[in-house]
């Protein structure tokens, strides 16, 4: 498809997915629900879905304490720090590495799909990871930032 620079496109997608993750995780802290609780769960009126005993570990990590939501949020902030990027990371080999972003995004996709609010963030993170994978396959590299900017008076 044309001259699309995949890593630049993937960056836009990643920023969107990670911001969504942060927002979803924020609401996930107040309205805690395990996304997959319908597996083996029973519906009670009122009270809603009662998850099955076999999901107890997820109930502990998501409903009793919002551990997964907080992890997802932290990870999303870390990804944003890479993508926006944080001044300390700018230009570092970590920042310029596309391969490392793929597992980060996949982990974000995995964490977000566990809680109720995170499904779209999960799908979007997977799409972002796929675009980065495409960039890696095509052997794209991040363009060197121009260092000579803003030095006036040397026309």
């Amino acid at each position: 498809m044309g001259n699309l620079i995949w890593h630049e496109y993937a960056r836009l997608l990643t920023i969107t997915s990670s911001v969504y993750t942060i927002w979803a995780a924020f609401w996930g802290i107040f309205f805690r629900k395990f996304f997959w609780d319908f597996v083996g769960g029973i519906v009670r009126a009122p009270g809603g879905l009662q998850p099955s005993k076999s999901n107890a570990v997820f109930i502990t990590l998501i409903v009793k304490a919002p551990i997964i939501q907080l992890f997802a949020m932290l990870l999303a902030f870390a990804i944003l720090a890479m993508e926006v990027p944080l001044p300390q990371l700018k230009g570092s080999s970590f920042h310029r590495n596309f391969v490392v972003r793929i597992p980060m995004l996949l982990l974000q996709a995995f964490l977000t799909i566990l809680f109720y609010q995170g499904t779209n963030a999960s799908l979007w993170s997977m799409i972002s990871a796929a675009c980065y994978a495409r960039a890696v396959v095509l052997g794209e590299v991040m363009k060197e930032a121009k260092d000579n900017r803003g030095k006036g008076g040397r026309a």
């Binding site: 498809m1 044309g2 001259n3 699309l4 620079i5 630049e8 496109y9 836009l12 997608l13 969107t16 927002w23 609401w27 309205f31 629900k33 996304f35 319908f38 519906v43 009126a45 009122p46 009270g47 809603g48 879905l49 109720y116 609010q117 499904t119 779209n120 799908l123 979007w124 799409i127 026309a155």
Partner: protein, 581 residues
């Protein structure tokens, strides 16, 4: 940019009015949606969900408004017909800008609406106000499914519409944006299935619209928002029909700077100076339509566009026309090297002012082309003023090719209306890459019998090295033609000082030197026509306002395409492509 966000959004009267009206409508609709839900006694069961349902309903109404408005600025043919009557309301081609404002707003309210619904469904499941679980609503009912699809489509459409992506790969933007079809279908069906109701289960009926309005109490906003969609669809069908009318590519001229001039003959295509069109070459792509500014005058027996080979579509076109990269790069090099006007550096038989003609007489006939248009604001009212100041900045010079030629034709016919003088300003970073426009200017300049009718002012704003400075100084002295532009007019360096330019013009007019024989009883009208970045537009507009006096009236108007006015850097875009690469 010289001005803060606050100054731009709130201290400019027109922008302030837009902000107040546009965002005022949004907040009003949100408040009304909130209120009508919160006070509806029939929906008291749902109101048990409290703030989240009030928020989702309010934001839903706002989104209905945005969904209806998003296509309105894209009704190009309707706008073209309506604009002359509403010029005071829409000064120029700002429809894409408005389209973007609606889109930004839609993204924000989609976030509010979705967030509120996540809370709603969570509580529906918990309280069992309806006998279903949250994921049933999300993934088995029309509202939930379409909602998630709408968000996914927005994710893809917005990201590919980013200006960087459009510039890199117009095709990605072009194709992805056609997801709008599914987006609109999703939008119209989003609230179907009797989603807002006073009963626990939906109340369906066997006749259209398949739900009973007695128990289904949504806004039914699709009844309104569907109309722009239908009209837009009709426009696309009409454009397709119109594009199929007989069209023939009669000639291709390859200019030394690398620009290809396509001369197309289509008798049914009527346009005026300053407009633009879409072009399609089915052999290269049967789906893509690419926008270009029209560079011929309405009097010409053909419609021409100038295309530079910068993107993959334009490269493919060059390849197909037999003006491949080698041919063009050799010519471009010659042109950029500043080959002398008359003789010396003759590369491929073409000096700088010459071009190579391809007429399809050879082994391969010229490809079929289709054009669609014209679009954009016409520049006909240059003939209603005494002095026309035409200002093109960088890429923004393209519409003036057509306008200058048109003026020249009317001058020949002695039909200039009230127009007495034309001042043409061209502000650009590097002149040599605009070679084709120079050759056009040369023709116009050479054809002038009256030296006072048309004045060409060229400003080169790039930094020049010391070597180049000496080069210019040596070549310029005593030469008949300017060494950079090969025009009689000398190139000026640096940025024009608009205040002093307009101030001097005012003084000259008032003293009667500028327009000899002007009746001082009458107020002289000086119209400025500008195409280029918004920052410059503002500076020039301020200068026109400051110079207006009782004897001279300065007006300001934008012509041609202004899509990139928000970007602020005209060097980002090649000259003859105005919208896409």
């Amino acid at each position: 940019m010289g001005e803060s966000w606050f100054q731009r959004e709130f201290l400019t009267p027109r922008r302030l009015a837009f902000n107040v009206i546009f965002y005022g409508i949004h907040f009003f609709l949100f408040a009304y949606g909130w209120y009508s839900q919160a006070t509806n006694t029939k929906l008291s069961a749902l109101n048990g969900l409290k703030w989240s349902v009030w928020t989702s309903r309010g934001a839903g109404l706002v989104l209905a408004f945005d969904g209806g408005m998003i296509l309105v600025p894209m009704l190009r043919n309707v706008i073209r017909v309506v604009r002359p009557k509403l010029q005071w309301l829409f000064p120029a081609d700002e429809n894409i800008w408005f389209h973007r404002q609606v889109a930004y707003s839609m993204a924000f309210w989609a976030m509010v609406h979705t967030t509120a619904h996540y809370v709603n469904f969570f509580n529906v499941e918990r309280t069992q106000v309806r006998p279903e679980i949250a994921l049933d609503i999300h993934y088995t009912q029309a509202g939930g499914i379409t909602g998630h699809f709408l968000l996914l489509i927005m994710f893809l459409m917005y990201s590919t519409a980013h200006y960087k992506m459009r510039q890199q790969c117009f095709e990605a933007f072009w194709y992805t944006h056609h997801l709008a079809f599914f987006f609109m279908i999703g939008l119209y069906s989003h609230a179907t299935g009797c989603f807002v109701r006073d009963s626990a289960d939906p109340d369906y009926i066997p006749t259209f619209p398949f739900y009973s309005t007695e128990h289904c109490l949504g806004y039914e906003s699709w009844r309104f928002t569907i109309w722009p969609g239908i009209i837009y669809f009709g426009e696309r069908v009409w454009r397709e029909i119109r594009a199929r009318k007989a069209t023939r590519l009669s000639k291709v001229l390859v200019h030394p700077s690398g620009a290809m001039e396509l001369r197309i003959i289509k008798p049914s295509f009527k346009y005026v100076a300053g407009q633009w069109l879409f072009i399609q070459v089915p052999e290269i792509s049967g789906f893509q339509w690419h926008p270009f500014t029209i560079t011929s005058a309405p009097e010409d027996p053909y419609v021409s566009v100038h295309i530079r080979q910068v993107g993959d579509w334009t490269h493919a076109l060059g390849e197909r026309l037999g003006a491949g990269p080698q041919v063009v790069s050799a010519m471009t090099k010659a042109a950029m090297a500043g080959a002398e006007k008359d003789e010396k550096l003759t590369i491929m038989g073409a000096t700088r002012g010459d071009f190579v003609e391809i007429d399809g007489g050879g082994a391969r006939p010229l490809p079929a082309v289709r054009i669609d248009g014209p679009y954009g604001a016409p520049a006909e009212d240059v003939f209603n003023v005494e002095v026309a100041v035409l200002i093109g900045a960088g890429i923004g010079v393209t519409p003036f090719a057509s306008i200058l030629k048109h003026i020249w034709y009317r001058q020949k016919r002695g039909n200039l209306g009230s127009l007495r003088r034309v001042e043409f300003f061209w502000v650009c970073r590097d002149a040599p890459s605009f070679g084709w426009f120079q050759s056009l200017l040369q023709e116009v300049e050479a054809a002038q019998a009256d030296p006072n009718f048309l004045r060409i002012n060229i400003y080169l704003t790039q930094k020049i090295s010391e070597d180049m400075l000496w080069n210019i100084a040596v070549n310029d002295a005593g030469a008949e033609y300017d060494p950079l532009t090969l025009l009689r007019t000398r190139t000026m360096f640096g940025r024009p000082d608009w205040k002093s330019i307009y101030g001097q013009m005012k003084q000259a007019i008032e003293a009667g030197q500028y327009l000899p024989g002007t009746n001082s009883q009458l107020r002289t009208k000086v119209g400025t026509y500008f195409c280029g970045p918004g920052v410059l537009a503002k500076a020039i507009k301020e200068a026109t306002v400051a110079s207006t006096s009782s004897a001279v009236e300065f007006s300001f108007a934008k012509v041609g395409l202004l899509r990139y006015s928000g970007i602020g850097s005209h060097s980002l875009f090649p000259c003859s492509r105005n919208i896409s690469d």
